[in-house]
Symmetry: C2
Subunit: 140 residues, 2 copies
DNA sequence: ACATTGTTTGCTTGTGCATGCATAATCTGG
DNA sequence: CCAGATTATGCATGCACAAGCAAACAATGT
């Protein structure tokens, strides 16, 4: 990986995430991390994940996710559940309200992502990276 | 741009930046933003940029860069210079010490980037994104 | 005068790190 | 085997800090 290229990825990332975060916050009252946590929980079996699993899946560290879980619980979007097999473990479980919010926000997210990428692609410094990312076949 | 793909980019970005930042901090005592600012200044004409230009080039806020400039000055890596044409403006100018530090850190950076990308590519969830990024021809 | 542009400053917040605490898992000598 | 001690794991919390936002501030231009 070329360093110059990575710098472009970083700037692209910053701009897109910034736009995404603002839009999500304004229209649905949740931040990017909250959205990501919900989206991971929603597709997990029984809608629940251990803290560390959640952290890995969204690229945050464990302590950040601990606090993130508190915010989500406060909003009623998730709840905590004890792990029956390992009493050290805690599950974060998405609630019905969480799924509803996620569905609503998902539409906004996809739309804002498209917009943000288009905006970034308009910048000549980022055009080629944006185009290359757009050309990657969707992975499962 | 597909949303799932973007999520992978985000996680990849988080992991690589994290590794990069830690390595840079440990070996050279500067953070990622500091490194980026220096690298942009180094290639700018006369080694100087306006605050806003610097902010745009590294994907940060104006105010964040203002404080970043303070940190760099404190370390003697840059200094401030007044803009003769518009006295509202301020230049951030890289010092000799700044160039030296950048050169040293640049080696670490490139090496850590390669390592971090390889590590990320080893994760099956990120392998295809990492590969696709690696396949992008280097842009100027 | 007033609007505009460029930078800085006050405040808030999310994040990482180091640490602490509780619970498992493993090792040890009998 | 097994009881007790040691080490490892999972999560929560105190703290420090960089980043964003909004407002203040400074200098230009109209």
């Amino acid at each position: 990986m070329d360093a110059k290229l990575w710098e472009q990825v970083v700037v692209l990332h910053a701009r897109v995430e910034h736009d995404l975060g603002r839009t999500l916050q304004r229209r649905h009252g949740i931040g990017l991390s909250e959205y990501r946590a919900l989206s991971r929980l929603a597709v997990a079996p029984d809608g629940e994940l251990r803290m560390q699993e959640l952290a890995d899946s969204i690229g945050l560290n464990q302590s950040s996710v601990s606090r993130l879980a508190v915010r989500l619980e406060t909003d009623g979007l998730t709840r905590r559940d004890l792990c029956p097999k390992d009493r050290r473990g805690v599950y974060s479980v998405i609630t019905d309200e969480g799924r509803t919010r996620l569905t609503e926000a998902g539409v906004t997210y996809a739309e804002a992502l498209t917009t943000a990428m288009a905006k970034a692609a308009a910048d000549p410094h980022l055009a080629d990276v944006a185009a290359a990312l757009g050309a990657i076949p969707v992975a499962v």
